[in-house]
């Protein structure tokens, strides 16, 4: 590692990257400050700082209480959607990915490219499609869930397939069979244990994607079934800077730990979020 630091080109590259990194990180710092500071502006007006000394505390969590009161329903709805997305992705995506990775059958390549397709299609275009195709049940909560599955299943399937292709699962299975293990025994004791890592990382990613999904949620929602990102948009357009910041901090408070965990699990290299903005 020390040698690396002396290699030519390291310092300018590092300096450039650090500056870019700080630029990328700076808005998050401002948002967190804005959510906690008791000021009308950005926490930079000197009067407010001065008044902070007169008994009135400069820091406050009151905006969080306000956001909780206002958007509790949407928060819980988004958590429910995200958890159900994870569950359904595990139930549908893991078996599907296993079949796609281990079997050859007519239409296999077609199915794989269709499953991965949503990652490279504009979310707004697909949302319009779902909106029209299922106009009769618009506003039903399960339709939003189905839309989320469209954007989360590709990640689960791809990570399961990548994991199965990264080691010689066929050789392991053959060895297990030669030892007398039946189909379900091999699945339980050979294949699934090797998939555990990918399944955990993919579940976290699925949770994040569903939690932050905006296009489908925004076009399909009704006042009764509103997701938190859709509520965030309403906050940005109608509420004050502090309330918006507090809501954003709540949003980030869920996403950031999950993303850190994905990075920590080493999934970061394989994880590519291609669409969804």
């Amino acid at each position: 590692m020390r040698e690396n630091l002396r290699r030519p080109g390291f310092l300018p590259l590092y300096a450039f990257t650090l500056v870019l990194w700080l630029i990328v990180m700076s808005p998050f710092a401002v948002v967190v400050l804005g959510a906690f500071l008791q000021t009308t502006f950005l926490g930079l007006s000197t009067e407010q700082w001065a008044r902070g000394g007169d008994g009135e505390s400069l820091f406050s969590v009151k905006w969080f209480g306000y956001v909780w009161g206002l958007y509790r329903g949407t928060l819980l709805f988004s958590v429910k959607l995200a958890l159900l997305s994870v569950l359904l992705c595990l139930l549908i995506g893991v078996p599907g990915g296993m079949v796609l990775a281990r079997r050859q059958f007519p239409g296999r390549d077609l199915l794989e490219s269709i499953v991965l397709l949503p990652l490279s299609l504009p979310g707004i275009a697909l949302s319009i499609g779902i909106l029209q195709a299922f106009a009769i049940v618009r506003g039903e909560w399960w339709l939003i869930l189905a839309g989320h599955l469209l954007y989360t299943l590709p990640f689960m399937v791809r990570m399961v397939m990548d994991a199965l292709r990264s080691f010689d699962v066929a050789a392991l299975e053959t060895a297990a069979r030669s030892l007398g293990a039946g189909y379900w025994q091999r699945l339980r004791w050979v294949v699934l244990p090797n998939l555990r890592h990918a399944m955990v990382a993919a579940s976290l990613l699925v949770f994040c994607v569903s939690w932050g999904e905006f296009n489908i949620s925004f076009l399909l929602n009704t006042p009764l079934n509103q997701t938190f990102p859709a509520a965030l948009y309403a906050t940005y357009t109608t509420n004050s800077f502090q309330v918006s910041s507090a809501a954003t901090v709540i949003f980030l408070g869920v996403v950031v730990p999950a993303l850190m965990a994905i990075q920590w699990l080493g999934g970061g290299r394989g994880v590519k979020l291609e669409q969804g903005v």
Partner: protein
């Protein structure tokens, strides 16, 4: 020879019913991807139906491609399309060039704090566009952080309200494209063989000569892939523009207005078909180009 049946996994006793495990996956994508795409294809061929629709008043002037004709003839939509293409292209170019530095650093060097840095770069990727738009407003809005700070420090509010101008839109797009570019480029650059560079150095090539003649041709496919990915994502992005754009319209935003404000679903569908076709064509062209490029290299 003996390894051949083993490599296919199932051996002599293939279980046909195992394929049924993929059935739910196929059903979900048939119902919620293929059927909706088919629906918008068909809807886009119907006469326009918006509350503000002024397309002739009757079905007499309607041909099946009239929505597409309107899309390509109406100056407003043409401008939005042009904006989309130019904005996406410039953002993709900027992101590809800017992320070359971090991607090279992450791919070639080990240093303390690398993990934290990479995690930080990965963060904006998973934020929805509206959130990135909001971040742009708090940094570059009329009372944003940067104008206020510069007001306090220099007496002049630099970049006040920039978020709502074209520059703010470009910065916000770059904000979520640079991380995406870093991830895409890093995985490609980590496959670059440093011995080639070392060989050129031992032959007396200068740093710029090596970059121009050794490194650049080898990483060109990765650069093209990064450009294509960031271009395609920018083209379909709509949350950022929804929050920031006041006058500068992009095609996804026009599409959204067609649905929400004018309820002209046929025209909105034509726009959606156009966006999907563009994304598919880009994807297809990139795949072909990459395959040909690599097969030539290996030949």
């Amino acid at each position: 020879m003996e390894a051949a049946p083993l490599a296919t996994g199932a051996g002599p006793r293939r279980r046909a019913w195992e394929l049924l495990l993929a059935l739910p996956l196929a059903v979900v994508f048939a119902a919620f991807l293929l059927y909706p795409i088919l629906t918008i294809l068909l809807t886009s061929l119907k006469p326009g139906s918006g509350v503000l629709h002024s397309g002739g008043g009757g079905s007499s002037s309607h041909t099946i491609f009239s929505n597409y004709l309107e899309l390509f003839r109406d100056p407003i939509y043409c401008e939005a399309m042009l904006h989309s293409l130019v904005l996406s292209a410039s953002v993709a170019l900027g992101a590809t060039l800017l992320c070359l530095g971090p991607a090279w650093l992450f791919a070639r060097y080990e240093f303390p704090g690398k993990r934290l840095m990479r995690a930080g770069f990965a963060l904006p990727m998973s934020l929805s566009g509206i959130l990135v738009g909001f971040l742009a407003v708090i940094m570059l809005g009329r009372v944003g952080f940067i104008p206020q700070m510069s007001q306090g420090l220099t007496g002049k509010a630099w970049l006040s309200g920039a978020a709502y101008q074209l520059s703010g839109l470009v910065i916000a797009y770059l904000y979520f494209e640079i991380p995406r570019g870093v991830v895409t480029l890093e995985s490609a650059l980590s496959k670059f063989d440093p011995r080639l560079d070392a060989a050129a150095r031992s032959l007396g090539a200068s740093r710029w000569q090596r970059f121009l003649w050794i490194v650049l041709p080898l990483i060109a496919p990765a650069l093209v892939a990064t450009f294509a990915v960031t271009f395609s994502v920018s083209l379909g992005s709509f949350g950022v523009a929804l929050v920031l754009s006041k006058r500068f319209s992009v095609l996804p935003l026009e599409l959204f207005h067609q649905v929400v404000a004018i309820t002209n679903f046929p025209l909105a569908s034509a726009m959606a078909v156009f966006l999907i076709a563009l994304a598919l064509a880009l994807n297809f062209a990139l795949g072909r180009w990459m395959r040909r490029h690599f097969s030539l290299r290996h030949a």
